[in-house]
């Protein structure tokens, strides 16, 4: 618990650093309103832009405003916290849809991505852990070759299955104004592909861990005590068998996030990955930077959680602050 609090506290400077990097990237964005080399617009537009993006302020003030750490002095109200900023979860307007804020568009995408992510994660865990246990035990060994082949090919065939599977649903639902049903169907397929691939990786790791654990002396001791084989498996051998998954959680998370980014685009689901690609295709710099920032924060959170869980299951782990 103390460790968790320490890590949270130490994450604050890191988040500020990320925000600063994002701000620097935004200022360096070519062709945007912040580009110092662009051809100046008519004066009314320039004024509107300056007012909208606070371009006439000194750069340190803009930086603090972007982070959401700006307090301004008003004669009547005293010090007033600025309305926009990362801390207020409002990184400012989008370039392409000036009427809407980045945060509103992000919120929609986050909902889709979160739903997809939970589905994928549940599938990966739900298939991967029993699969790994099955593979490690003698009756399940024949599954090995077909299992690993299926998991490997899932990613390669993603581009075949994706559009072909998606297309009939789109055609069927063409007459319907509501796309919700089709989103659900496509989401299920998308989560299925990434989930299957991740489940393959997890199953291999669990299999390795469980095989090693089943040969360890403490399992011999447990068997010698005369408890049932199921109790040996789940009560003694399973916990150390999960550790390889947790120690590789960083690459597993990266794989899950990459996979979701790809399937969202292949199945045209309006999630974060689609938003990212669309804002890169026709550059919407504020949107792009903030989506990347969101990805960075998400990876920090996910890896932090996995690390805490790892420490919970294996107290021998050394401290890693970050």
């Amino acid at each position: 618990m103390k460790y968790a609090v320490q890590r949270l506290v130490l994450a604050i400077p890191l988040l500020l650093l990320l925000g600063t990097l994002a701000f620097a990237l935004l200022r360096m964005a070519p062709g945007g309103p912040f580009d110092p080399h662009r051809v100046p617009a008519p004066s009314e537009i320039e004024e509107a832009l300056q007012e909208r993006h606070f371009l006439n302020e000194p750069i340190w003030k803009q930086h603090l405003r972007y982070l959401g750490l700006l307090w301004e002095w008003y004669p009547h109200d005293g010090w007033v916290h600025a309305q926009t900023g990362l801390i207020q979860l409002d990184p400012g307007p989008s370039l392409h849809l000036p009427a809407s804020k980045v945060i509103d568009l992000l919120a929609e995408a986050i909902r889709v991505s979160l739903a997809l992510g939970f589905l994928t994660f549940a599938l990966a865990i739900g298939l991967g852990i029993p699969g790994g246990v099955l593979l490690a035990l003698p009756p399940g060994r024949w599954l090995e070759l077909p299992g690993s082949l299926a998991a490997l090919l899932a990613m390669g065939l993603l581009f075949v299955f994706g559009p072909i599977l998606a297309m009939p649903f789109v055609c069927q639902l063409e007459g319907f104004p509501s796309a919700l049903a089709s989103h659900l169907e496509r989401g299920l397929w998308a989560a299925g592909v990434v989930g299957l691939f991740a489940a393959g990786r997890i199953a291999r790791l669990i299999r390795g861990g469980l095989r090693a654990a089943l040969q360890a002396p403490f399992v011999v001791t447990a068997r010698a005590k005369g408890i049932s084989e199921a109790a040996v498996l789940w009560g003694h051998a399973f916990r150390p068998a999960v550790l390889p998954v947790l120690s590789r959680s960083a690459s597993l998370w990266a794989m899950l996030l990459t996979g979701m980014l790809v399937v969202e685009n292949v199945w045209q689901l309006p999630g974060l990955g689609t938003l990212l690609v669309h804002s890169a295709l026709d550059p919407d710099y504020p949107m792009l930077v903030n989506v990347v920032l969101l990805y960075a924060v998400a990876t920090l959170l996910l890896n932090g959680t996995a690390d805490l869980l790892h420490r919970r299951l294996d107290p021998r782990m050394p401290d890693a602050y970050a």
């Binding site: 360096m28 070759l145 090919l153 065939l157 581009f159 990266a254």
Partner: protein
């Protein structure tokens, strides 16, 4: 060179298990599985088939003109349109033709050649960065090691595609505007390709750095290196003489392992329109055509099926190769 050349000193020439924790050597043998023979067979035959297709196709497809008189399918040009658009696979066009009547087989061969080339070059760039980064971190050690590896870890946590998108979007416009107007029209796609390769290389070094750093730290404690350090040889000489030879096989395994990842990223980027640009063809842009073009009720499923199956074969082949190499590396080490 301050020392007479006596050939490389190899502390691992003998099956030496001194540096390994107890028992790690024996578990390898018990890990031998009955499926291994089949997997090797599959791997080798795919590599062989793949290599044969690429090599055979090389002289003919280097030219945009059709090699006439040869009654086999791969004498078709990947760029020359024919009078038979949207044909399903048949005896003349083994993979069918696209909307302009171009032979899909030749386009797939061309595309996969570019995809593998991009993958190999980007992986080589990533390898250079990763080896340098990991070597410095592993050699210097201490606080700098912690810092360098922390940076590599954090960057590695982010999906590589996100970083590539960020890099390309930010760097491309200044490069475009930096080119002279006439050059920008003709060579825009080439500049973009180079940028793509550089970007993919710049985001694929993190796992390499981690492995190399662990290897360097491991070698740093070995007898010859300690002796060289004590005798006052420069770090560069020690690295070249006592560490680089051992890194070699790891580097090959890592290169082979990075290529499929990069090929996959490139395919994805090209399939959404951010990768390889129009005059060039990669597997990703073929997939994009396959996704966008065909009306499945009428025709065109092959436009999707063949590039995707080729991609699956390429990914599978490189994945298998690298995992076999990795296994060989581990077994050799102890």
């Amino acid at each position: 060179m301050p020392m007479p050349d006596r050939g490389p000193i190899d502390p691992f020439m003998q099956p030496d298990r001194r540096f390994q924790p107890y028992g790690s050597g024996t578990s390898r043998q018990s890990d031998a599985r009955p499926g291994l023979g089949i997997r090797w067979l599959v791997t080798l035959s795919t590599v062989f088939a793949f290599g044969v297709v690429l090599l055979l196709a090389w002289p003919w497809f280097s030219h945009p003109t059709v090699a006439r008189g040869l009654p086999i399918a791969w004498t078709w040009s990947p760029v020359a349109p024919s009078e038979t658009p949207n044909r399903a696979p048949n005896a003349t066009h083994w993979f069918g033709t696209d909307a302009q009547g171009r032979d899909l087989l030749s386009r797939v061969i061309h595309g996969s050649r570019l995809s593998v080339l991009v993958g190999a070059l980007a992986a080589a760039i990533g390898l250079m960065i990763g080896v340098a980064w990991g070597t410095v971190a592993g050699w210097v050690g201490g606080r700098w090691d912690a810092l360098l590896m922390r940076i590599a870890d954090w960057l590695g946590w982010l999906p590589a595609i996100v970083l590539v998108l960020l890099l390309i979007t930010w760097i491309q416009p200044p490069i475009r505007s930096g080119l002279p107007e006439s050059a920008a029209v003709g060579t825009g796609f080439q500049a973009h390709l180079l940028l793509l390769i550089a970007g993919l290389g710049a985001v694929s070094w993190m796992p390499i750095a981690r492995v190399v750093r662990d290897q360097i730290r491991f070698l740093r404690r070995s007898g010859p290196v300690e002796a060289a350090v004590v005798l006052g040889f420069s770090p560069f000489w020690t690295f070249r003489r006592h560490m680089a030879p051992h890194l070699g096989r790891w580097v090959l395994a890592l290169l082979l392992g990075t290529i499929p990842a990069v090929v996959f990223y490139e395919t994805f980027l090209s399939s959404v329109g951010l990768g390889v640009q129009t005059p060039l063809t990669s597997l990703g842009s073929l997939l994009a055509e396959g996704i966008a073009g065909p009306d499945l009720n009428r025709a065109g499923g092959w436009m999707l099926l063949f590039p995707a199956a080729t991609l699956a074969v390429i990914l599978f082949t490189f994945h298998q190769l690298s995992s076999e190499f990795r296994k060989a590396c581990r077994n050799q080490r102890g």
